[in-house]
């Protein structure tokens, strides 16, 4: 089982050195609306931390409070153990890459990157050396004398990164930095960002609403919703064993099967028992109301096929209603024997493995691939959302 106790991992780190950033019971209200609600977070030094959530979940407000652009209504923020809650932005050893880059339009690329160093009163030769070094790292060698706003979006993005990194901050804040880039440049920038982060070893706090980006980049991710995080951990753990239905659905498509607890056994509506990881529900078994399974983890088999499912496998029967052929994979919509919807993603390996509407099939998945979830307030007729398929087309 992967780490369900990420918190323990990071507190272990705090014994040696204080966390790079610590938010302690931070709340932020705007005119009676709570944007961030009693949030406590710790970022280990040198880690790439992704804060993920839909718009309005409080992730950008959280980042702006670390940057000093907003003051928390209550709670404290620490930077390397030092309380910076009321420190103005220009005295914080933190730099930000803004969503719109926010380059200085009246300055050249060089002067943009040198801006912070000059304010800190660095030596002229040092400034020149550091700026050119960072332009080089970001593939902007020779761009120094150009006006910053005449570059392409991807290049402006690099200037914004260089402008922040050149100051060697304790923490780099990135506010949806890829938001304005097109998909292709975004992919290469992601790889490059990861490489740069490893090279410079600076703690990154990365805010995004793109779950693929968060999972691709983050050492750890926190999924925020309504001003709190609902889950926090390594991307694989959060994806495979999300703490709540919201997290499960936000990170990708997810099948939700209603279950009832019967003397310690979870049962599907048709009465068959089903196994799942208890995850965060381990201590409150009586609250388990659903089992979630990712569409790619479910396997389809023709009814009457000879294989016998092993003891570690869950089984149910269903009927195919829709087939969508996507080349490498096929998407199947199915309906279970009790009428629930099911969504399955299958590799197109051979012709036999493909199904047509009306086929009666057996659906199997490993018990470890199901995760127990509490009932959520909006779980009535839980919809099967395909967050992924939308983003990729």
């Amino acid at each position: 089982m992967t780490t369900t106790n990420d918190a323990a991992v990071s507190t272990e780190g705090t014994k040696k050195a204080p966390p790079a950033v610590r938010l302690e019971n931070v709340t932020k209200e705007f005119k009676g609306m709570v944007a961030v609600d009693d949030l406590t977070l710790e970022l280990a030094a040198g880690e790439f931390f992704a804060l993920l959530g839909p718009s309005g979940c409080g992730k950008t407000t959280t980042l702006r409070m670390v940057g000093g652009f907003e003051q928390p209504s209550s709670g404290k923020i620490f930077l390397g153990g030092e309380d910076i809650t009321w420190t103005p932005p220009y005295r914080r050893d933190v730099n930000t890459v803004f969503q719109s880059y926010a380059l200085f339009p009246h300055l050249s690329v060089f002067d943009n990157v040198a801006f912070g160093l000059r304010r800190k009163g660095k030596d002229k030769d040092d400034i020149k050396r550091l700026v050119e070094e960072h332009l080089e790292i970001l593939g902007l060698g020779g761009f120094g004398p150009r006006p910053a706003t005449q570059l392409s979006g991807g290049q402006q993005q690099r200037v914004a990164l260089a402008r922040a990194l050149v100051n060697q901050p304790k923490v780099l804040l990135l506010d949806e930095p890829m938001g304005a880039l097109d998909a292709k440049i975004r992919k290469t920038m992601q790889l490059e960002l990861k490489r740069i982060q490893r090279e410079v070893g600076i703690t990154f706090l990365y805010v995004t609403h793109d779950q693929d980006e968060a999972m691709a980049l983050g050492d750890r991710i926190a999924v925020m919703h309504g001003g709190k995080y609902e889950d926090l951990g390594a991307p694989q753990r959060v994806y495979d064993e999300p703490a709540t239905q919201f997290v499960a659905e936000f990170l990708g498509a997810c099948n939700l099967l209603a279950v009832t607890l019967d003397h310690g056994t979870l049962r599907l509506p048709d009465g068959s028992s089903v196994g799942a990881r208890p995850g965060s529900m381990a201590s409150k078994l009586d609250q388990i109301a659903q089992v979630g399974v990712r569409p790619e983890k479910m396997l389809l088999r023709r009814e009457g096929a000879s294989e016998v499912p092993g003891p570690a496998t869950n089984t149910l029967t269903a009927t195919v209603t829709t087939t969508i052929y996507l080349g490498a994979t096929s998407e199947y919509e199915l309906v279970t024997s009790w009428g629930g919807p099911l969504h399955i993603l299958a590799q197109n390996i051979s012709e036999e493995d493909r199904f047509v509407p009306g086929d009666h099939v057996i659906v199997t998945w490993e018990k470890d691939h199901g995760f127990a979830l509490p009932s959520s307030p909006n779980a009535v007729a839980a919809p099967i959302t395909m967050a992924n398929s939308e983003g990729e087309t």
């Binding site: 103005p88 220009y90 719109s100 926010a102 380059l103 304010r119």
Partner: protein
Amino acid sequence: MSTDLIDAARPAYRQPSWLRRHSPPYWLSLVGGGWMLLFFLIPLASGLIVSLETGNPVSGYTLTWNWHIYSQLFVHSDIPYTTFFIRSLYYGVATTILSILIAYPMAYFIAFRVSVRWKSPLILLVLLSFFVSFVIRTDMWSFVLAQQGFVITTLHKLHLVSSNFHILGTSNAVIGGDIYNNLPFMVLPIYVALERIDRRILEAARDLYSNGRQVFLRVVLPLSRAGIFAGVLLVFITTVGDPVNSSLLGGVGTYTIGQAIQDSYLTNQQFNVAAALSTVLMVILGIIMFAYAKIFGTENLENLV
């Protein structure tokens, strides 16, 4: 061969001639060009020609190419036109500088410190004086500031000033009137320039170790330069040539070149003198503005329009 076939199959769209493709912009500029010709170049030339005429109001003027008029006006002249010029330029410079100092905080306040709801009402307040005729509102000031007006009588009653203290007739009164009348021309362009600044750029500056003063000096001020430049153009040019404030609020010692041109034209009917003075004024303003543009740069003036 094959391309011939394709060409033959095409409908007969011929490549339009060079003239057809490139002439529309010129056609479109005809109106503007005609306007400039009719109301700018022709008056300019005719002003120059009138200045070279000789004669008197009774028998009329004839063109005699009298270039001496320019030296007559400034060398050993009975009337100290040079003084009037210098005084007008002094009023212009003082008004422009003081206008910037007053207008910048106003524009800054409206652009950055006021909620969206209050921006339009405040801009309207800035423009409110324009609802009253220029001459009337200047004359109202001479009424308010007169010896018997309530400002000076109040100051007398409070024993704050000596009994011979006066405001009207001084250079300060003229400069004050100039500032009052031109302030909106300085506030508006600066406001527009400030309003265009992306707020996130200011956050970026604070993020990069700038305190409030540095954010202003390193980012806000350079980015509003075009607005200041536009304001300076509007205020300086109007003030230097203005006869109204100096005649209504000023006295003997505040006679400006604007008044000199007006008087020689309307009162003395020395058309050649009036034309020569305004030609010189225009050349001087042109040189000053050109030098100013060269020094402070205009490359983003067009951004404001």
